[in-house]
C-alpha cells in the first residue's frame, strides 16, 4: 500500500491551527517580557550583592537551567496556586512558569554580557571623571546590551518552542490545536509538518527581528551598512562559512 500525503486535510483545518497560533504568540510574548524583567532583576542582584546573598539566585538559575521545562511547567501549574493561595488562571500560571525558565537563561546572558565589557573602557570613563552610575548607564550597559542581542534572540526562540509544552496542560495553543486535528483525522505526519513550519516561521521572524535590531544599532556608519549586507554577514557566521570582516565587532 502506498502512503499518500493529505495536506488538504491540514489546509481545511488551518483556522483551528491559526487560533492556536494566536495563543502561542500571546504566551510567548508575555513570557519574553516577564522573563526579561526577571532576568534583569536576577542579573543585577547577582552582580551587585556579595556572594553569600546571591546564593538563592544561583540556586534558582541552576534549577531552572538544569531540569526539564515540562516538569517545571507542570509543577508550577499545580503548585503555584497552592503555595501562593491565589487563584490564577491556567494562562497566568503557565506564563509565570515559562518566564521563570526564560528569566534564568536571560539572567545569565545579561550577567555575562555586563562582565564581558572591557575593563579598559570603564577605566577610561573613570579617568575622565565619570561617577560609577554614569559609567554603568553611559558606557557599560549600552555596550553590553548591543552585544547581547543575538544571545537574547536565542533565548526568545526557545521560549516560543517552550510554549508548546503548555499543550500538556490543555492550553489551546498551536501544539494543542494540532493534536486536536490529529485526533480527528489521524494524520500526524501532515499536521506536525505544518505545525513545525509555523513554529519555524515564528522562530525565524524573531531571529530576523533581532538581526534588524543588531543592524539598526550597529556601531558602523549608516552609509557603510545595508541591512542586506548585515544579513549576509550574520548568515555567514551562522553557517560558519568564511566569515568576512564584521564591522560591528571590534
Amino acid at each position: 500500500m502506498e502512503f499518500e500525503f493529505r495536506f488538504d486535510i491540514v489546509w481545511n483545518n488551518i483556522s483551528i491551527l491559526l487560533e492556536g497560533v494566536q495563543t502561542t504568540i500571546m504566551l510567548s510574548l508575555l513570557t519574553m517580557l516577564l522573563g526579561t524583567i526577571i532576568g534583569l532583576f536576577v542579573a543585577i542582584i547577582r552582580l551587585r550583592v556579595r556572594r553569600l546573598f546571591a546564593i538563592p539566585f544561583v540556586i534558582y538559575v541552576e534549577v531552572f537551567r538544569g531540569t526539564p521545562g515540562l516538569i517545571q511547567i507542570v509543577w508550577i501549574y499545580y503548585c503555584l496556586p497552592i503555595v501562593t493561595g491565589l487563584e490564577l488562571s491556567a494562562f497566568t500560571s503557565l506564563v509565570i512558569a515559562m518566564a521563570l525558565n526564560v528569566g534564568a537563561y536571560l539572567s545569565e546572558v545579561f550577567r555575562a554580557g555586563i562582565q564581558a565589557v572591557d575593563k579598559g573602557h570603564v577605566e577610561a570613563a573613570c579617568a575622565l571623571g565619570f561617577k560609577p552610575t554614569q559609567i554603568s548607564r553611559r558606557i557599560v550597559v549600552p555596550q553590553a546590551a548591543y552585544r547581547m542581542i543575538p544571545a537574547i534572540g536565542n533565548v526568545f526562540v526557545s521560549a516560543i518552542k517552550l510554549s508548546s509544552l503548555c499543550s500538556v496542560l490543555g492550553m489551546s495553543e498551536l501544539m494543542y490545536q494540532g493534536q486536536l486535528v490529529i485526533a480527528n483525522y489521524f494524520r500526524p505526519i501532515e499536521v506536525f509538518t505544518v505545525v513545525a513550519l509555523i513554529y519555524l516561521i515564528m522562530a525565524y521572524s524573531t531571529s530576523l527581528f533581532m538581526m534588524f535590531l543588531e543592524w539598526k544599532f550597529a556601531w558602523v556608519k549608516r552609509d557603510k551598512n545595508s541591512f542586506w549586507g548585515h544579513f549576509k554577514n550574520v548568515s555567514r557566521t551562522i553557517f560558519s562559512l568564511k566569515p568576512q570582516g564584521d564591522l560591528t565587532r571590534d
Partner: protein, 260 residues
C-alpha cells in the same frame, strides 16, 4: 604656601604599592612643575604603569600622597586642614582634572570618534550635547582627525584611535596629562603620528608625564627624564644630561640595551 610649592603641578610623596607579596613601588618621591614634560623610563614590569595609575587613583596606593596643583588626590581638606577620604563623587571631580591616555586607547566602541570626545563634556561637565560636539570637533581638528569624526573606533587605525583618545583627554582641559606608553600598542609606521601630536602638546606649555619606551622621543621632547627600576627612582636628570652622561650603572646598562 611658598612660591616654589605654588609652581608644582604634581607632587608625589613616598608612594608605596604592592600586589600581594610583590612590592612594585617602594617609596616614590617626585615633583613636577607646571608646564614641565617628564618621561618615565624603565624596563618592562618596573612599575611605570603602576605609578601613573596611582597618580589618578585608578589604583589605590598602599601609602603615600599625591597632590595635583596642591590638592591631595583621594582626600578632601577639612576647614581645620585635616584630611579625610574623598567620596566617589569628589574623587571623580579630581580625576576629571587629570588627563590619562592609555596604552590600549580604550575608546568606547559604541560611540563615534566625535562622541567619544564629546561624552565626558556632556556627562562630567554637564554641557549641552551640541556645544560639546562643537568643542569635540575642534579637538579632533587639533589631532588632525576632523574628517573622521563620524567614524566608529573599529574602523580607525591604531594611530588614529590613539589620537582620538588624546583629543578626548584634551577636551577636558586637564591640569596635568599622564600618558601610559601611548605608542606601545601601535604598528611601527603609526608611531610617528602620535609622537607628533604629543610633541605639539609639549610645546604648548602642558604638564605631561609620559611613560615610554621611545628613547628618541624622550631625548627630544622631555625636560626631564626619570629612570625607575625595582620600585624606586634610580636616577633623574634633564633629558640631555640623562642620555649623554648617565651616572648610575643601572641606567648606563639600561640605555645601552635600549639604544643598541
Amino acid at each position: 604656601m611658598t612660591n616654589d610649592a605654588a609652581n608644582l603641578a604634581i607632587q608625589i610623596e613616598n608612594l608605596h604599592k604592592s600586589f600581594g607579596s610583590l612590592e612594585v613601588l617602594k617609596g616614590i618621591d617626585l615633583s613636577v612643575t607646571k608646564g614641565e614634560v617628564i618621561c618615565i623610563l624603565g624596563t618592562s614590569g618596573s612599575g611605570k604603569s603602576t605609578l601613573l595609575r596611582c597618580i589618578n587613583r585608578l589604583l589605590v596606593p598602599d601609602s603615600g600622597m599625591v597632590y595635583i596643583h596642591g590638592e591631595p588626590v583621594g582626600y578632601v581638606k577639612g576647614p581645620d586642614g585635616s584630611l579625610r577620604p574623598a567620596n566617589q563623587s569628589m574623587l571623580a571631580t579630581q580625576r576629571s582634572k587629570i588627563g590619562y591616555v592609555f596604552q590600549q586607547f580604550n575608546l568606547w566602541p559604541h560611540k563615534t570618534a566625535l562622541d567619544n570626545v564629546a561624552e565626558a563634556l556632556v556627562v562630567v561637565k554637564k554641557m549641552k550635547r551640541d556645544k560639546a560636539r562643537k568643542i569635540a570637533l575642534q579637538r579632533l581638528n587639533e589631532v588632525g582627525l576632523e574628517e573622521w569624526n563620524d567614524e566608529y573606533p573599529s574602523t580607525l587605525s591604531g594611530g588614529q584611535q590613539q589620537r582620538v583618545a588624546i583629543a578626548r583627554m584634551l577636551a577636558m582641559e586637564p591640569d596635568v596629562m599622564l600618558f601610559d606608553e601611548p605608542t606601545s600598542a601601535l604598528d611601527p609606521e603609526r608611531v610617528g603620528e602620535v609622537i607628533d601630536v604629543m610633541k605639539d602638546l609639549a610645546t604648548r606649555g602642558n604638564t605631561m608625564v609620559i611613560a615610554t619606551h621611545e628613547m628618541n622621543f624622550a631625548k627630544e621632547t622631555a625636560d626631564r627624564a626619570v629612570f625607575i627600576d625595582d620600585g624606586v627612582i634610580v636616577e633623574q636628570a634633564p633629558a640631555v644630561e640623562f642620555f649623554n652622561e648617565p651616572k648610575t650603572e643601572r641606567l648606563q646598562a639600561f640605555l645601552k640595551r635600549m639604544l643598541s
